[in-house]
Structure formats: C-alpha cells, structure tokens
Subunit: 221 residues, 2 copies
C-alpha cells in the first residue's frame, strides 16, 4: 500500500506543484459526482464527500460548476446525451417491423438493466419533479427521437397488416420503457416484499423475454 518514497506525499492528493488539466479535472469531478448523486440523490449527496473522492479539491467543483445544483445538472445532462447516442445507434428503419420492435424492446430492456445508474438518476430527478431537466438548455435541445423511430416502424407494420391500427407511438414507447424501467427502479423493494431478486441472471433473461413478448402481443393484429 505504501507509495514510492519519491512521491511528494503519501496521500492521494496532488502535490503542491501541479499540472493544469481543466478537462481532466472536469471529467474527474463529473465521474465522482455521478456516483454520489446516483447513490445518495441530490439532497443526500455531500459536496465534501465528492471533493474528497476527487483528485482535486472542493474549490474546483465551484470553479467549474458554480454550485451543487449546477454540478448535478451537468451530471444529468451528460447522462441524457448518452441516451441520445444510444438511440442513434439503433437503426430500426432498415429492419422489418416485427424485428424492429423486438430489437427496440430488447435493447431498451438491456440498456436499463446494464445502466442502473441511469435509472436511479431519473428516479432522483423525478422526485424533484424534473425541475433540472426543465431548466437545462442542453437537454431541451437534445430532441430525443425515440418516438419518431417507433412511429415509423409501427406504421410500416400496420401497412403490412402485421400490427393493428390505432395505437399511438407514445403508448408503445411508454409500455416498452415502463417494463424496462420498473425492473430496475423497484428492484430493491420487490426483493424485500417478494423475496425475489430481479437482478439475478435467470430472472433478467425471463423478464426480458416477457417484456418483448408483451410488447409484440400489444401490437399484433
């Protein structure tokens, strides 16, 4: 555990002389802050704790992000930009309708299962009535396109006689999201109340299949 004797200090802290690295410091703070906000929520997270786990100091948090809410907002914005990337990576338009919906439901389920941090932060933000989403220009300009992608695939399915008509694209999205989200968001309480671990591999596989199946049954003519 002892560092090299030549190191200025045995602490993890930067020595009295340092190298400027604005982007690195920024990213470092964001990464630690994300973990803290995800784990403790906005009110539960402690700026001092975030600072302590950082390679830099509390001073830098305020230098770059203004205040605690600014830091939180930055974390939120980064997360939503990631989602945007995830959406873009899906190419539903080139797939037949049923395959497109299967892919979308499966990917959405997997994304939530693999990114509980995302789910938790969205929960936190909803507890705060999405006040920070509302005041973020970066997020407002994000233009999440999930609904449009869904509508396109759905309408092709209807035209082909595969899907029944009259469903709103938003309803399809809500159903897919609800099944994917709930599975992660309420994992802890379900484990306590029902003694069932939805995070276990078999449970995930089964639930994933059920979610996809449910979505397809909802759509089928």
């Amino acid at each position: 555990m002892s560092k090299a004797a030549s190191a200025p200090k045995a602490t993890g802290r930067r020595p009295a002389s340092w190298t400027q690295d604005p982007e690195g410091v920024r990213r470092n703070i964001l990464a630690v802050a994300k973990e803290e906000f995800v784990e403790n929520g906005l009110s539960g997270a402690r700026v001092d704790e975030i600072a302590a786990r950082t390679a830099t100091s509390k001073r830098m948090i305020y230098y770059y992000f203004g205040d605690k809410e600014g830091l939180y907002r930055a974390v939120l914005e980064e997360m939503y930009e990631r989602i945007r990337g995830f959406e873009r990576s899906l190419d539903l338009a080139s797939l037949p309708p049923v395959e497109a919906m299967t892919l979308l439901a499966g990917f959405t389920f997997d994304y939530h299962a693999e990114n509980p941090d995302f789910v938790r932060l969205v929960m936190v933000e909803n507890i705060h009535h999405a006040r920070h989403l509302a005041t973020s220009d970066r997020i407002a300009s994000l233009n999440l396109s999930a609904i449009d992608m869904i509508r396109e695939a759905y309408e092709r399915g209807v035209a082909a006689g595969l899907f029944r008509p009259g469903i709103e694209a938003l309803d399809i999205h809500l159903t897919i999201s609800a099944l994917a989200f709930y599975n992660v968001s309420n994992r802890a309480s379900i484990r306590q109340v029902f003694g069932h671990d939805m995070g276990a591999p078999e449970a995930l596989v089964r639930r994933r299949a059920a979610a996809i199946d449910t979505v397809l049954r909802m759509l089928r003519a």
Copy 2:
C-alpha cells in the same frame, strides 16, 4: 385572520397549558411527516420543517419516533399497511378469470394514479435500497397476498382455456405494477422530455385502457 382576543397566543401553537392526546399528536406528526418525505425524500426532508408544520413540537417527534429514520420508517409502515387493506378489498376469487384480471389491472392502475404519494415514497425507499423495508418487522409480517390472488385467477383461466399456460404469477404482477407505477413515477421527466402530461384526464383514461388491454393480451391463449 385574527383569532379571538381571548386566545392565549395568536400563533397556531398550543398554549402553555394543554390537553394530553398521545394518539392525536402521533397521527398529526405522521401526517405532516408523510407529506414532507413524499415531497423531499428522506435526506431532503427537514425535521425542523416537519415540527413547524405540526401542532406540536420537535421534542414530540423524538419522543415518539426516536429519530428521523424512525419517523420515516413509521410513515413507510403506515403506507404499506394501507396497501394491504387495498389488496384485501379485492375479491378476485369470486370473478371469472378475465374479469378478475381486468379488475385487478384497473384497480392497480387507479390506486397508483390516485396515490402519487405512495408511488413517490416507494421511489424514495428504492433510492435507499429498501433498507428501511428490510429492517421493519411490521412490514415483514405484512404478507402481501397479491401474488397468490393472481395465481388463483390465472390458473382458473388456464383451466378454462382462456389463458395460455406457463406464465409465472409474479410476472403477471410485475407487468401490471410496472404499467401502473411508471405512469406516475416518471410523469415529471416524461412531461419535460416529450411535452406530454400523463396526469391529464384524457391521458389517464387512454393509458388505463392500454394497460388493461396489454395485460389481457399477455395472458390470452
């Protein structure tokens, strides 16, 4: 707004001489605390604020509930006991399978929609990894029976050739809950991201029908 001049003080506070009312004080504290925890979460709620909105003093909070977490746990326990009552009020066994499932899905949806406080508190508890559910004897002994009720109705449906076999009762419950829960839990973020108000009456009616329909389609042979 001015009270009668004979009143000891114009404040809402109890005068220097009072009447003992342990149960009343307890309930009063619980009611205010519930609102605060629902609105601000466990870390976000302030004991001073709860005390201020109470007809009694902070002293009483600690007298009856020990500490902040004890108060939170009491609120949580009361809420889960209410759910238990709600479940008991349903009599699925006396209904034909399809009607039973329709009733269950509809009632579950309505319960969530009409009790956003419940939804928010469950979110808060999940953010805390359901640590307080885990340590509550009162909740452990509650024995929520939803799953058994569902299994009974489902098996009758299968026997009658109405439902397809091979579905786990828990999966049915999870699907019903997910659709009902998500609609309330993520209302704020969905409004921000999609500009759609899921709390609006028409949206609720449509979503309710969609949820019931989705559940029935999942079950049908």
